[in-house]
């Protein structure tokens, strides 16, 4: 079997530890034990409205940056893997979440949709760029759960956007 046909598997274990003492502030630490050693401190808080103190980014910021960070890292990694000429690129992630509440009961939430617009610069063909985005989708580390087919990843072509 040639090297290019070999199958391989990678396992990644991940973890976080969080403590909340009383209000909304939560101290979250993400230890990295293998390649990227060290512990990242990623606290979160809420603003004044629900009773927080605004000492750290709200949970939504963590989630939105997570979606974007994963996709952007894979776009770069896979463009190198395919040897596509992708220079600079831009991602624009927009989502819509909805909560339904009866009286004072806790709400029930659902994610209605996410659109991640991808603007890839460089001389790679439109077909190659579409292939790259499809590969990125399959390589997902995390995927949002919402109505089937609602996550969209349009590609910028000239001044417009095309579905991938």
């Amino acid at each position: 079997m040639s090297r290019t046909e070999a199958k391989s598997r990678s396992d990644v274990m991940f973890e976080a530890e969080g403590r909340n003492a009383s209000k909304f502030r939560a101290d979250v630490s993400v230890p990295m034990r293998k390649v990227a050693r060290g512990t990242d401190f990623r606290p979160t808080d809420e603003g004044a409205l629900p009773g927080g103190d605004g000492t750290a980014p709200v949970p939504l910021v963590h989630v939105t940056s997570g979606l974007s960070a994963c996709i952007m890292s894979r776009l770069r990694a896979f463009s190198k893997r395919f040897d596509f000429d992708v220079t600079e690129f831009f991602v624009d992630c927009r989502g819509h979440w909805q909560a339904h509440q009866h009286g004072n009961l806790p709400y029930v939430g659902s994610l209605l949709g996410v659109t991640i617009g991808i603007d890839l610069r460089g001389s790679a063909s439109k077909a190659d760029k579409r292939g790259l985005i499809t590969a990125v989708e399959k390589g997902r580390f995390i995927e949002v759960r919402c109505k089937p087919g609602i996550v969209k990843r349009p590609l910028k072509v000239g001044d417009g956007w095309v579905e991938v």
Copy 2:
């Protein structure tokens, strides 16, 4: 209709903008336009192995903190809503992701499972604590997509853990 029976709906729109200039470093900004105004800068990078410069947390850190931050914020909000006595609490989030690769092609990834251990201190009963965790699950902002039933949220009771 009494106030406690009223139904209400909340819509939350979220967005992030990211730019990648050449290597793995991506500058991600998360603008907050409503209650929590301001823009959070949440860059990401990879370590040296895939060709990054280690200038910012890897995407995995963003995702793991996002999972933890969402759950912790809802635990606090809903314990107040239910008026359960929950003082300090701890969350331990552990996950397993796997990638399969053929030769030098981009990998195909899947999230095999996530376990989020929840240790709630305070005098709330075990039944109330279970009810709180169930409500938190329904209020999800984001949910990881993996094999059905694989996301677990055990509750710490004494020195052991029980499934919720």
